[in-house]
Amino acid sequence: MNAYAANSGQYPAQCGLWSDLRSRASSAPRRESTPSRGAATAAWLPDLYVAVVAGRNDEAVDMVYQRFDELLSAEQFEACDDLLRAVDLGRLNVVTMMAVVSITRVADAKLERRARVVDRVRDRIVALEPLRANALLAVVR
């Protein structure tokens, strides 16, 4: 018997944190009854992914510009960084990824996460649009 199987009882249903969200047990770690500011900031992302899958590029790009612009205009750079960490590039197309990179360009120096996102966008563009990669990458940064 392997070591994991011998101790499989150590992964109980309550091991994860999500269970705490619905648990009323007093032993649960403190957690807000309403979503955190970060969760609220990222709550629109599934709508973005739906618009991308549906091919509604204008709507998707508008969403990206509007949401990031709200944070950048208010100089909420940390929240903007958190949003960059929350965006799943794997669910975006090239147009929407370019929108993320371009709207955040103005605050590049203040966004810790942006360089990583730009690198990943580059990799994805090369993989998704090899013929247009050079032209697209010229405007990334």
Partner: protein
């Protein structure tokens, strides 16, 4: 029998409410040491003072007809929350974990949280030998309809015996299997959960893929465990796809 696994899919609305990677150490590591290791080294963006999960331990002594009980509150785990509240790094006695919460940020971003967790712990715990590593995804699937036929949505939905009624109001089912090629362990748990309203049924699909190390692999030996974590992630995905039907996939689009 050959198992048909769906090709990798990317859903705009995945049902993932939590995903975590957990490292277990072979030798006992005090919780205080784990907490100290993380508190001093986590990168900017994580809270410095962790949330605490307590465990209540009860003891009972029976003497004749008398029963005396005593209870003690002990710390079970600490969780360092990222600024957004959507990523967390946790520790409990002899284990370390990296978590992301919904909306799921994708495997790449999740791996960054795992890397942050390991990088923070490595100066103190890097030489600790690992007993196992596990990848776990908790999916909350909302199925519309007051009394939907779960067989149409889940390939692993439980069947009820004839005469027991067709409206399934509560269930819990767990399996644990071993993958012969790798020795990995896969635990699948499917259970009902409180619904949002009368017009929906909610099920939780809790998938855990784990690997027990045979040799002395240390936390700092990233090159020795990262491919295993990738494999466990893929196993979990395959099992997820094999557990749901086309009807359910439509719910995530």
């Amino acid at each position: 029998m050959n198992r048909v696994v769906e090709q990798r899919r990317v859903y705009p609305r995945p049902p993932i409410v939590e995903a975590l990677v957990e490292f277990r150490f072979a030798q006992a590591v005090p919780l205080s040491k784990m907490r100290g290791a993380l508190a001093g080294n986590l990168p900017h963006g994580y809270e410095k003072s962790p949330s605490v999960r307590y465990r209540i331990d009860l003891e009972a002594a029976v003497t004749g007809r008398d029963v005396r009980t005593a209870g003690k509150r002990n710390v079970e785990a600490y969780f360092f929350r990222g600024r957004s509240g959507l990523r967390l790094i946790g520790c409990r006695a002899s284990s370390l974990s990296a978590h992301v919460l919904a909306p799921y940020p994708g495997w790449e971003n999740f791996q960054d949280v795992v890397d942050e967790c390991v990088a923070a712990a490595a100066p103190v715990l890097g030489s600790e030998v690992l007993k196992s590593v596990a990848v776990r995804y908790v999916d909350r699937i909302v199925i519309p309809g007051a009394a939907p036929n779960l067989q149409e949505f889940l390939t692993i939905a439980p069947r009820t015996p004839e005469g027991a009624g067709s409206i399934l109001t509560g269930f819990s089912w767990t399996s644990e299997t071993k993958l012969p090629a790798t020795g990995d362990t896969m635990r699948v748990e499917l259970r009902s959960a409180p619904p949002n309203g009368p017009e929906a049924q909610v099920v939780v699909l809790d998938l855990l893929a784990a690997h027990a190390f045979a040799g002395a692999v240390r936390l700092a030996d990233r090159q020795l465990w990262s491919d295993i974590v990738d494999r466990l992630h893929q196993v979990q995905r395959d099992v997820f796809e094999a557990s749901i039907t086309a009807e359910t996939r439509r719910l995530f689009e």
